[in-house]
């Protein structure tokens, strides 16, 4: 057991996966000697060598496309995209090939790859370094989208993503990379994909969130507790496909739902959760659903990023409204 940050846990998971399975490769820009701009791949080159930790030219389209080729050949490429604002050139390969190769060939070829990328605002970074566009990926059939929110979940989910026989987009909230340390046992144990994590049980209101805002959501739950509002906090974790049964069961218990995400509101993943409740959980709803999200604007430069991101008090207010709703 050792105390690690989330980025440390990610490095630990990468090293573990590479040690346990020689098909696992790490590639991307500056992932070698430099250990990645966030140091997520630190030490891997030294330990596993240049044939398994590959610095690529600055070319996201070919990083994505060559990963498809490597995966079809039986490797397990884990490609790092330096920031989420730079992963868009990879969308074409994800949509047209990575997510379809197995289906297109009726299982003859498959695409067990992982695309890792930092996500989210809150670190006073330059333009394009603060994106939360997980909804774009979640809408693509044939692949998974995973967002960890703690060192231990990052460790177990990344191991599961790498072991998964299908494509996984693994989005890492930069704001949490070094937010806190946690005991993580480097035992190679995976956490299940396609399932939520109930971080806090509660009777009065269900708070569903993922990624960096899990932090604010847990703070909000604390504050609410002091007001006597008992909030259940669910970390969606696998953003697509959604483990809806867990959410539904919680809403059937609490009758109230607040969804929190850092992405813009319109057509965000929160909408899908709300829609499913409106389809299958309507009768258990005792109040309108609320979404606490970023605004439908471009992520502002650092001077305004705090005004842009959902804050704990926004979550508290929303929860209060749904709980006190008559």
């Amino acid at each position: 057991m050792s105390e690690v940050t989330m980025v440390g846990a990610i490095t630990m998971a990468l090293a573990r996966a590479m040690a346990d399975d020689e098909r696992v490769l790490v590639l991307g820009e500056d992932v070698g000697r430099n250990g990645g701009v966030f140091r997520a791949t630190e030490g891997l080159l030294e330990r596993f060598g240049g044939e398994r930790v590959m610095d690529t030219p600055l070319a996201e389209t070919v990083i994505a496309g060559m990963s498809v080729g490597l995966a079809a050949q039986g490797f397990r490429p884990v490609a790092e995209f330096q920031f989420m604002g730079f992963i868009y050139p990879a969308l074409d390969q994800l949509i047209c090939h990575a997510s379809r190769l197995r289906n297109r060939t009726r299982g003859r070829l498959s695409c067990p790859l992982v695309f890792r990328s930092p996500m989210g605002a809150g670190i006073h970074a330059p333009e394009h370094h603060s994106e939360s566009t997980e909804a774009l990926f979640a809408h693509i059939p044939g692949m998974r989208v995973v967002v960890p929110s703690s060192p231990s979940r990052a460790y177990g989910l990344l191991l599961a993503a790498i072991a998964d026989p299908d494509p996984v987009v693994f989005l890492e909230p930069t704001r949490l990379y070094r937010a806190h340390k946690e005991e993580v046992n480097d035992n190679g144990e995976k956490l299940p994909l396609d399932s939520c994590f109930v971080l806090r049980e509660g009777r009065n209101v269900t708070l569903v969130a993922w990624g960096a805002v899990i932090k604010e959501t847990l703070e909000a739950a604390q504050d609410l507790a002091e007001e006597g509002i008992d909030a259940e906090v669910i970390d969606l974790a696998t953003v697509s496909p959604i483990d809806f049964e867990t959410i539904l069961a919680s809403v059937e218990k609490t009758g109230r739902l607040v969804i929190i995400h850092e992405a813009p509101r319109n057509c965000g993943v929160g909408a899908e959760i709300a829609a499913r409740i409106a389809e299958r959980g309507l009768l258990s709803l005792q109040a309108p659903i609320e979404r606490v999200t970023a605004y439908d604007t471009v992520v502002p430069l650092p001077k305004l990023e705090n005004a842009y991101m959902p804050q704990a008090k926004d979550i508290v207010e929303a929860a209060r409204r749904v709980v006190t709703f008559q």
């Binding site: 994505a64 498809v68 050949q73 003859r108």
Partner: protein, 369 residues
């Protein structure tokens, strides 16, 4: 056209030159079917040449049948490779079973040589994914419809070979239009800097739907695009199956022996409409097409093998009958294949369908929503 644009001025200024390049060209069998000097030895080996001829013929007859099937509503939109058969047959003939082919949608000639069955081709173009589950070349990629997107896959496959220290080569076919896309260039550059075992065969059939090559790029050749990736580039007569086999053969051998990637521009011509959904008379002149027919790779090769006394009128009639029989048998198999079950949509979406999608599969199996 802009070949060495600065040369004159540079020399005038006696400028220091830091890099020089040239693009060679090769042809062995001219349009009239005459073998030119220094042709490779195999050109005189009927055991090698006749199978090439047979393959181009089978492809031609298959293509014509496929077009007829589409016209009669029995096949979907179809892109024939009529006029380009020598390219596909030529490069496929120097690949081993262990090599991997990645291509666009117009490479039936190579696919058939590689062992993709005629029935599989018909299934795919008839709108059935099962046509991509090749029983023959299990590792070959299915055709990539989004232009140039297979080129990055090819460097990935080549990287896999290199990492495993396997003597295998990835052969990637793409069109002239595909050379305008960034994917092609990014892959070319990666292949160069990692010295990957990959061969890029650029099939310059002079048209990208309605766009002639001259409107696609200002370069004098497409072969010179290799210079931007720091790899060898060469132009060949793509209707000369001897040149294709020889030059691609050299490139594959070089790649196999650790000599790195190369790019070959094969000059040919798209004799027919872009696909059965296209009407080329809207944008290209009939004279251009009829002139191109004079360079037909099949006629050329037939003249050559005939002149060598390797091929009689009877052989020809015999071959045509054989090919037609093969094609008809494939058509029968295709037409007799029952359509896939609706719920098969979910069979290969993931290795194991996520529980949350089970209800959709069930609903589809039940029919309706």
């Amino acid at each position: 056209m802009n070949d060495n644009p600065d040369k004159a001025s540079a020399q005038a200024r006696k400028e220091k030159i830091v890099a020089e390049f040239e693009i060679p060209y090769r042809q062995y069998l001219d349009a009239s079917g005459r073998l030119l000097g220094d042709a490779p030895a195999f050109a005189n080996n009927r055991e090698i040449v006749l199978p090439l001829y047979r393959a181009t013929m089978l492809t031609r007859i298959f293509d014509n049948k496929a077009i007829a099937l589409q016209r009669t509503g029995q096949l979907g939109t179809y892109p024939s490779c009529i006029g380009q058969e020598a390219v596909g047959v030529g490069y496929a003939s120097v690949m081993t079973d262990k090599d991997v082919m990645l291509t666009t949608y117009r490479e039936q000639a190579a696919q058939i040589w590689r062992g993709v069955t005629l029935a599989e081709l018909l299934l795919y173009w008839g709108g059935d994914e099962r046509g991509c589950d090749y029983k023959g070349p299990r590792e070959d990629f299915p055709v990539a419809v989004p232009i140039a997107t297979q080129v990055p896959h090819a460097v990935g496959v080549a990287t896999a070979f290199k990492l495993r220290h396997e003597p295998r080569v990835a052969v990637c076919a793409l069109g002239d239009g595909a050379t305008s896309k960034g994917d092609f260039y990014e892959a070319l550059n990666l292949a160069g800097v990692w010295q990957l075992p990959v061969v890029f065969v650029v099939i310059n059939n002079h048209w990208a739907i309605s766009m002639p090559v001259a409107k696609q790029t200002a370069t004098k050749t497409l072969a010179q695009k290799a210079i931007a990736g720091g790899i060898p580039g060469i132009q060949i007569d793509g209707n000369d199956v001897i040149a294709v086999r020889e030059v691609v053969g050299e490139a594959i051998a070089r790649a196999r022996n650790g000599g790195g990637p190369s790019l070959i521009e094969a000059l040919t011509y798209r004799m027919r409409d872009h696909t059965t959904a296209d009407d080329a008379t809207r944008y290209r002149r009939e004279e251009e097409v009829s002139a191109a027919w004079k360079t037909d790779p099949i006629v050329r090769l037939r003249t050559y093998i005939g002149a060598n006394g390797w091929w009689s009128k009877e052989d020809e009639e015999q071959l045509v009958i054989e090919c037609k029989d093969k094609v008809e048998a494939a058509v029968a198999e295709y037409l007799a294949t029952p359509p896939p079950e609706p719920q098969s949509m979910f069979d290969h979406l993931f290795e194991t369908l996520p529980a949350s999608l089970e209800w959709q599969r069930k609903k589809l199996a039940g029919g309706g929503k």
